[in-house]
Symmetry: C2
Subunit: 234 residues, 2 copies
DNA sequence: CGGGTAATTGACCCGGGTCAACAGCAGTGG
DNA sequence: CCACTGCTGTTGACCCGGGTCAATTACCCG
C-alpha cells in the first residue's frame, strides 16, 4: 500500500549524492525501492561516520511527525530509486490502516536495535570480527527481502564505505578483507558478495541473530510487504 | 499521569544488580524515578559494552508492544527506584491519553538519536573527545530534568563504567580523566561532577546539542513531566 | 581493623593509523 | 583506437593511541 499511494512521487538520484542533509526538515518519509543508501554524520573537521545502511524496503527516517530537524544526513551509495511519502499522505494512510503505523513503528525499533549492535561492534569487536559481522548482517537483511540468491548477494560497498562504517582506515579495511578472503570466509567480485559457509563467517563474527528480530509476529507487514514486487500483485 | 497510575508497582533494586536480562520478555515498561541505570550487551567471551545510561525520567524499553524479547540487558548502577507499568495498564493509558503515546514515541526517537551520536563517538572521536562528550551529554540531560545545580551534577559512574561505555580500558580512562582534570575541564569529587566552563568542555568534545532535540514542540509532555515532582502537583 | 572496591602508576606491547606510492580498470573525449 | 583521468584496491615502512599486566595506593563501610 505504501508503494501504491506514493506512486506519484518516485524519485531517483545518482550514486554518491546526498538525499537529505543534517539540519533540514525531512518533510517526508522515504521508502527505498532500488539501490543502497546510508545514514551518516560528520564532525566539523571532516571525520565522517556511517550510522546505517539502507537497502530496498527500508524506510529512512519515519519520524517525520515528531522530529522536524534531521540530526544526520542520508546519502545514496548506488544509483537509487525511492518513494517520497509526504506528511499529509502519511497521516491519511496510517489513519486508514492502523497496522501500517504499527509496521513502521516496528521498523523503527529494529533499526534502533541494529544501531545498538553497531555500538557493540565498534566498542568490543576487533577489525576482523567487525567487518565479518557487517557482512553477515547485510546478508541476512538482504535475504529477508529476497535479494540474495543462494550464497550470493549484491555488495556495492567500496572499502572506503566499509571504513566509514566501521571507524577503520581504508588501508586497514583492505588488509582485513584480504585476510577474510584468504581464510575463505568471503569472496567479493564485481560488487557481489559470496559467503561460502555462512555458519563459519557468523562464528568468526560472534554473530547472534536475535537483534535483527526476524522472528516477529505480524511478519506480513514488514519490509518485505512494502517492496514493489509484492505491492504490484496486491 | 504515568507516575500516578503506576503508583502500585514501584520497585527498588540494589546497585550493580540486573533489572532485566537479554532474551526475556520485558513484560512491562519501566520509568526510572531515582538513581542511574544502564543498557548493555555482552559478547560470549565476556567483553561488555554499555549502550546507554538511564537517569530519572527515562523510560527503559517502551517497546513492550512489539518486541517480546529483550535484545540487551538493563542493570542498575546506583541504588535504583523505578515504576513498572504493565502492558495492559499501558494500553489503557495510551488509549485514554493519546498524547502520552506520542510522548513515549518522542522519547524513543531521542534515544535512537543519542545512540547514533554514540556511534559517532566510538568511530570518530578519540578518547579525550569521547569522554568529554559523554560528560557534556549527561550534564545536559540531567539539567533537562532539573537534576543539576549550577555547574554541578551527580555523577555516580566509576571509571570502569566509563570504560564500558566508551570501549576503552579503565586504565586509559583513568589517564584521560586525569588529563581533563589537569586541563581544568572537569572536577570530580565524591560522585559529583563540576564543569567550570561548559562551553570550553563542549568545544573539547566537539559537542553539537542538536541531536538531543531539546527544542522540540510539546515539551510539556517530555521526560520532565513524567517525574514524580511534577506529577505530584497535577 | 579488615576486606573490597575504585583510582592511580609504570613498563612494555600491539592493533590499527599514517603516509606515500603504485596497479587495475572503467569511463570519456579526441 | 588510444591517451587521459579518476576511482578503487593493494602494498610497504614506519608510528602512535590505547591496551596489557601487575603493583600500589586511596577509600569506604561495617
Amino acid at each position: 500500500m505504501l508503494g501504491r499511494m506514493s506512486r506519484g512521487t518516485i524519485r531517483e538520484v545518482l550514486p554518491r549524492r546526498d538525499i537529505i542533509h543534517e539540519g533540514v526538515d525531512p518533510g517526508a518519509v522515504r521508502l527505498i525501492l532500488e539501490g543502497w543508501a546510508c545514514r551518516y554524520k560528520s564532525l566539523p573537521d571532516g571525520r565522517r561516520q556511517t550510522l546505517a545502511f539502507f537497502i530496498p524496503g527500508d524506510l529512512c527516517d519515519p519520524h517525520v511527525y515528531l522530529l522536524r530537524k534531521m540530526d544526520h544526513s542520508i546519502g545514496a551509495i548506488t544509483h537509487l530509486k525511492y518513494a517520497e511519502i509526504g506528511r499529509a499522505q502519511m497521516d491519511a494512510m496510517t489513519e486508514r490502516y492502523p497496522r501500517i503505523s504499527q509496521a513502521i513503528h516496528w521498523n523503527e525499533l529494529v533499526s534502533a536495535s541494529i544501531q545498538r549492535e553497531w555500538i557493540l561492534n565498534m566498542g568490543q569487536r576487533n577489525a576482523h570480527e567487525h567487518l565479518a559481522h557487517l557482512m553477515v548482517e547485510l546478508f541476512h537483511r538482504l535475504r529477508a527481502v529476497g535479494l540474495t540468491s543462494g550464497a550470493t548477494c549484491p555488495f556495492p560497498l567500496t572499502q572506503n564505505d566499509l571504513a566509514d562504517a566501521t571507524g577503520l582506515t581504508c588501508v586497514h579495511v583492505n588488509r582485513v578483507m584480504l585476510d577474510l578472503r584468504h581464510d575463505g570466509l568471503v569472496e567479493i567480485d564485481h560488487r557481489e558478495l559470496r559467503i561460502p559457509d555462512l555458519a563459519r563467517l557468523e562464528k568468526a563474527a560472534l554473530f547472534n541473530p536475535a537483534y535483527l528480530h526476524l522472528d516477529h509476529e505480524g511478519a506480513e507487514l514488514d519490509e518485505r510487504s512494502m517492496l514493489p514486487a509484492n505491492l504490484s500483485t496486491s
